[in-house]
Each structure stands twice: as C-alpha cells, then as structure tokens.
Amino acid sequence: MDAVWTTVAALLTLCVFSFLYRDNPLYRFAEHLMVGVTGGYLICLAWFEVVRPLVWVPLADDPGRWLADFQFVPLLLLLLMLARLGERTAWLSRIPLAFMVGFFAGVQIPQVLQADVLRQVESTVAVSFTGSWAEVAGQLVLVLGCLAGLVYFFFSRPHRGALGGVARVGQVVLMAGFGASFGYTVMARISLLIGRVLFLLRDWLGVVS
C-alpha cells in the first residue's frame, strides 16, 4: 500500500512539474486538487483543533457556564464573524474585526518599540570596535551603514547636499542587504527543488539511498 501511495505522490509531483513545459490540464487538475484537499484539511483542523476543544466540549460539559462570567462573548464574536457571509448582515463582522485589530494594535505598540526599535538602537550604539581589522571595519559598516540607511528612508527633505550624500551611502548598504537576501532566496528555492528531487530519486525510484 505504501508503494501505491508513493506512486500517487510521485505522479502528482510530475503533474505539477509539467507546468515547466507549458500550462496544461494535468497541472490545472493538480492545482485544483491541492486547493480542494487543503480546504478539506482546514475543515478538519477547524473542527478538531479549534471548534471542538474551545466551543463544543465546554458547551456539552456545562452549558450553563456560557452565561456566567461573560463566557458567551467569545462565542458571540465567532458567530458575528460568520455574519460576513450574508449581504445584509456583513456589517456585523466589523465588531469582532474591530476587537481583533484594536487588541492587536494596543499590544503591539510597546513591544514593537522595545524589540524592533529600542533594542536595535541599543545594539547599534553598543558596538565595541574590537577585534581584527575586518571585524573593526565591519563594526564601522554596522553603525554607519545603519545610520545611513535610516537617513535614506527620511523622505521629508529632498536628498541633496550632505543629506543626499549620506542617503546615497545608505542606499548602497541597503543594496548589499538586498543582495544577501537575494542570495539566500536562491538558496531557499533550490532547497525546495532538492527536496522534491530527493523524494523522486530516493523514495519513488530508489536510485539514491
């Protein structure tokens, strides 16, 4: 049975790879099959991992608790989200959305400022300029490059004169960062292909141990 399933997986893999030649019915079939199976998976996930433990089991165990201590409110929020499905009731879904967005916004402010701004500024300022010449040069690039990059993103004044010069340095540093990202992105995409090739050669064809 395992061999049958492996063959199914391999054939579906080849259906998707057929897109490389050109768009064709096999690829479209595989694409729509993936969407359908994903949808079915999400239904099961929603039931077993979310609705059943959060709503069904507590409701079945003790229906009365939903009225005590405002426990009906989360259930109401869930139902109001589903109101979006109706044209005339869709506006009701703004309530749970507002709850979610407001909560998210309030909680984010101190944490984002602390982790992504203050801690990063602290780490930039606290550089020690010790080590080999390459390390010291790197630490200089780290401090000055970060400052120049921030100056580049300051668009309230035109980038002319000294400001323009610093912004240009920032632009170069940003390009170096994007180059590193591109190199890593290539690595990521190739890794995903390697995973599929390894499956085909090892698990299906058995030519690789």
Binding site: A9, L12, T13, F17, F29, E31, H32, L33, M34, V35, G36, V37, G39, G40, Y41, L42, I43, A46, F48, V50, V51, L54, V73, P74, L75, L77, L78, M81, L82, L85, R94, P96, L97, M100, G102, F103, F104, G106, V107, I109, P110, L113, Q120, G138, L142, G145, C146, L150, Y152, V173, L174, M175, A176, G177, F178, G179, G183, Y184, T185, R189
Partner: protein, 206 residues
C-alpha cells in the same frame, strides 16, 4: 452606529492592551488573559469563514458553468472527500486522512513551491543586470553569498565563506536593522492611529 461602535470598541480594547503593559496588576492581568482567549475565537471564525468562502466561490463557478468549471468540480469533490475522511477517521498518524495529507497535499504543495527554483534561475539570467553602481553592489553581494554559503565556496576559495559571513554579519545586518527600525516606527504609528480612530481601513467600505 455601524461604524462608530466598532471604532470605539477597537479604541477601548486597544487602550486596555496598551495600559496593561505598564500596569501589570493582578486584576488587569486576569482581564488581559481573558481578552486574549476571546481573541482566539475571532481567528477561529476567520478560519471557518475562509473555508465557507472557498466552497461558495467554486460552487458558484460550477452552478454557472463558468470557464474551467470542471476544475472547480475537482476542487469541491476533493474538498468534501478529504473533510469526510478526516471527520470520520480523525487526523492522527496511521489514519487514511494522514495518508492523504502525506501523499497528496504535501507533494502538491511542496512541488508548487519547488517550481520557483526554475523561475528564479530564469529570471536571474534574463533580468539580473549590473546596470548601475547600486545594482552591481547587489549583484556582487548576491554572488558572494550564493557561493560562500554552500560547501563549494570553500573548494573555490577560502576567502569566499569568510566574505559571505562578513557581508551577512555586518552589511546585511546594518541594512536589515535600518529597515527593522523604520518598519517598527511605522507599525507603532499605524497602531496608534487605530487606537485614536484615525485609521479605519479595517472596517471596509461604508
């Protein structure tokens, strides 16, 4: 009312979330924990909503016999078949549902992403040009990282891996840090606008 109440709710809940960070009193912490629990139900509703929308979209295509409606039939049949199998057998390892996940969903999704390897190679060949100084910096950095970060980098030259490490530890960190600080300030200011009722795009149209 249809917009005013949600805006007021967002402000109230958001302000509480912000204040609680500075006032970790037990009573406030208890309410905060409860609000967190409630918020999960909104995400659960979104999950159910997304699945129902998907079914509605494809059912409409089938009903109207729109272009490529036959593929929508494939989607709907596979959706209900998978859901039916899962709800009956459960999702654990060893079930038929798990076999479908491992041998149908996993290879399909993984291969969809694997296609990107070919497209990035093609795009690199056709469009990655050293047209300016900045583009040249980007290109050279990318080449050094691509070669220095894989085992063959050592085989080509001992300098390459060190150069890749240097670029990642210093130049890349400087750039990403500048972006992170800028984005962080942007997130904080947008969040503040939500709390003050200025940012209302999440409500949709009138």
């Amino acid at each position: 009312m249809k917009r005013t109440f949600p805006i007021a709710l967002a402000s109230a809940v958001g302000l509480f979330g912000l204040v609680q960070f500075f006032v970790p009193h037990r009573a406030l912490a208890g309410i905060f924990q409860e609000l967190n629990r409630w918020d999960v139900f909104v995400y659960a509703g979104a999950l159910v909503l997304g699945t129902v929308s998907l079914i509605r979209h494809h059912w409409t295509k089938v009903r109207r016999r729109s272009e490529h409606w036959q593929y929508s039939t494939v989607t709907l049949v596979s959706l209900f078949a998978t859901a039916g199998i899962g709800l009956v057998t459960g999702m654990e390892r060893g079930t038929l549902f798990n076999d479908v996940f491992v041998n149908v969903l996993m290879p399909l999704e993984a291969t969809m992403f694997a296609l990107l390897a070919f497209f990035i190679a093609s795009a690199s060949f056709r469009a990655f040009r050293a047209r300016s100084f900045e583009a040249t910096v980007l290109l050279l950095t990318a080449v050094v990282v691509m070669l220095g970060r894989v085992p063959i980098g050592h085989a080509i030259s001992d300098v390459l891996p060190g150069a890749a490490d240097w670029l990642l530890d210093y130049a890349n960190t400087a750039a990403k840090r500048a972006i992170m600080i800028g984005v962080g300030l942007g997130i904080a200011s947008t969040a503040l606008k939500v709390l003050l009722g200025i940012e209302r795009s999440y409500l949709g149209e009138e």
